[in-house]
């Protein structure tokens, strides 16, 4: 019960964050020195064309009313119309978002599945060579720029070893399109197409590794310090006294209470992960939101830019809600008390 209340509070809070975010975005978009309509149309457009577009975008109304319209649109999930593609921003984003989602989910998977065990290993052999190795791996993965790692992986796996494709999401002219969820790996399973699944995986691997490295390093670091904290707790000593074998102690009694800090950090750093996804997508020509975002940004297509930032924010908020839920599942104290502390 307390947990439901906790989640409800988090949901309400998330809505508030989104409203705040919409204001920030709106202010930035309207802080443009100059006229968005004029900028979008270019210097060759006539005064009538500009006025026309202003009217269409509602730029001729008072600023508060403009924000009201923007918010009303958002509430209906309507992000307005892109000036560049002349399509609803919703449609543009929907077409590209699934690819970004797939990349980000694969990234989180890799970061957690590799990072957490690395942290456990480092904590178990604290101050000995495995710890030092993990530390070096963690530092290097944290300081290697994603775009640079992406390039290196491309050179290594694509040009030197010729084992993995370097651009795109599926082979050109491949007769498969993800139509159910938009995620290649899942839709290929639904459609019973193991070949498409394998191809999808091959294309996904390099970008996901490039994007996951930084997060994986963080996960390993934080899991390590959190495990070391827990290992000095009385209840670990007690389970030792009762003869619970070491691997059960480490993998069950120590790991589970240590899981909350890495999860929390995963949520907090999710924003910078989305940012890096933009760069990685560009390097691997991944057909996600980044290419669209960057193109619209260069074209000063304000509605589309606002849409992209807003969707990134919603993504962040949703991921953090999922993490709140997971934290509750992992730690009964959160469930029972209905708060994080």
């Amino acid at each position: 019960m307390e947990f439901l209340r906790f989640l409800l509070r988090r949901v309400l809070w998330s809505l508030l964050v989104l409203v705040g975010l919409s204001m920030v975005i709106f202010i930035i978009a309207r802080a443009v020195p100059g006229d968005p309509a004029r900028m979008a149309l270019g210097p060759t457009a006539t005064q009538e064309q500009v006025a026309d577009l202003q009217k269409k975008l509602g730029l001729d109304r008072p600023i508060v009313q403009q924000y009201g319209l923007f918010i009303a649109g958002l509430a209906h999930g309507d992000l307005g119309r892109s000036l560049l593609t002349e399509r609803p921003v919703n449609d543009d984003i929907r077409d590209t978002f699934a690819a970004t989602l797939e990349l980000v989910l694969a990234t989180i998977f890799i970061a957690v599945v590799l990072g957490v065990p690395l942290g456990v290993v480092a904590a178990y052999w604290k101050d000995r060579w495995p710890d030092n190795v993990v530390r070096i791996v963690a530092i290097f993965s944290a300081v290697t720029p994603s775009f640079f790692l992406a390039l290196l992986l491309q050179i290594l796996a694509g040009y030197v070893l010729h084992i993995l494709p370097t651009t795109g999401r599926l082979p050109p002219n491949f007769d498969f399109a993800p139509t159910h969820t938009g995620l290649v790996l899942i839709d290929s399973l639904i459609a019973l197409r193991p070949d498409a699944f394998l191809e999808g995986l091959r294309y996904l691997l390099l970008p996901a590794i490039a994007l996951a490295a930084a997060t994986m390093g963080q996960m390993a670091r934080i899991t390590r310090s959190s495990m070391i904290d827990v290992s000095s707790q009385d209840y670990i000593e007690a389970s030792r006294a009762f003869g619970v074998p070491e691997w059960v102690r480490v993998c069950k009694y120590m790991l589970r209470p240590s899981f909350v800090p890495p999860l929390t950090i995963l949520g907090l750093e999710f924003a910078s992960l989305i940012g890096n996804a933009f760069v990685v997508e560009l390097v691997f020509a991944w057909p996600g939101m980044a290419a669209y975002g960057i193109r619209t940004i260069l074209q000063k297509d304000l509605n589309a830019v606002m849409g992209v930032v807003m969707v990134s924010g919603v993504f962040f908020v949703l991921v953090n809600l999922v993490i709140d839920l997971l934290v509750g599942l992992v730690d009964p104290r959160v469930r029972i008390r209905g708060s994080r502390q």
Partner: protein
């Protein structure tokens, strides 16, 4: 007489500084970090005098020397218009470090003051500041910088503004959590009982206890700000050519992969090098000050 007094008072402080230095210098990662940072900073400052081809910073074109591999003449090879990449990398450090100094120079004071106030005053100050921080955390700094670069124009000042506009949140959160723990500690309560001003308590009692955490965070952040800045210019939205910038160099060099690999790989390694230095330094400081939860 007065000289002796000063000496006596200074003696313990000196020796504790020496002790810190002793512990620091016994920490290999911290020392490596410090050396890397020192090398980068010195190289950046002395760039015009120590680089082999300082004139290659501008829009020099020398088609006879284009795409040369690394050699004794050109340590890092040359780029597609025949400029020395090593020279441009050293000058690139200038931009990267300047970016870090300006962003953190703005973000840390703002973040610290907001964090101190939110943590100490509580109540609505806490609610408003921390909620605002939460909102800012939801925006990817890189995307924000992109948006700002789009709305204004893609140049160095605007990217710095955009990054700084989001970076303070991390410092606010850090200082906030420390201040909240300190708020109920005896020395703060003692100062309150003695009627010390809020200003005194915030800046004389609480702030000194945050300094080590800020130092660690700053060092780690220098590396990360440089990474974000490089990503921005890699996307073509940061520093505009011909000014030598590491991210831009990686981007323009990547067009000539894999044959002329040095044109993007070596500047990329340079970014990694400087970011690594700040990270190792921060890691070492964290061990030294024993502030485990700063990241």
């Amino acid at each position: 007489m007065s000289d002796e007094l000063t000496l006596a008072e200074d003696a313990p402080r000196l020796s504790s500084a020496y002790q810190s230095w002793y512990r620091f210098s016994r920490n290999p990662t911290a020392m490596i970090g410090l050396v890397i940072v020192a090398v980068c900073v010195l190289a950046a400052i002395l760039a015009p005098w120590i680089t082999p081809h300082p004139d290659h910073v501008g829009a020099v074109v020398n088609f006879r020397a284009r795409h040369l591999p690394p050699s004794a003449d050109y340590w890092f090879g040359t780029d597609n218009v025949g400029r020395d990449i090593f020279t441009r990398v050293i000058f690139g450090f200038r931009i990267s470090l300047m970016l870090a100094v300006v962003v953190l120079g703005t973000a840390i004071p703002i973040g610290t003051i907001l964090g101190l106030m939110a943590g100490y005053f509580g109540g609505w100050v806490e609610i408003v500041f921390m909620r605002f921080t939460d909102i800012a955390l939801a925006i990817p700094p890189l995307v924000m910088a992109l948006a700002v670069a789009a709305v204004l124009s893609p140049d160095l000042v605007n990217s710095m503004l955009a990054i700084a506009a989001l970076w303070w949140t991390w410092h606010t959160r850090l200082i906030y959590s420390i201040t909240r723990q300190l708020r109920t500690r005896e020395f703060v309560e003692a100062a309150e009982t003695l009627g010390a001003s809020k200003f005194h308590i915030l800046f004389r009692e609480i702030l000194p206890n945050c300094v080590s955490a800020i130092a660690v965070k700053t060092s780690l952040d220098c590396g990360f700000v440089i990474l974000v800045g490089a990503s921005l210019s890699f996307l073509g939205l940061g520093i505009q050519p011909p000014t030598p910038d590491l991210g831009t160099m990686v981007a323009s060099g990547s067009a000539f992969l894999p044959d002329y690999w040095w044109e993007s790989v070596l500047p990329g390694c340079a970014i990694l090098f400087v970011a690594l230095g700040f990270n190792l330094l921060g890691d070492g400081l964290r061990d030294l000050y024993d502030v485990e939860n700063v990241r």
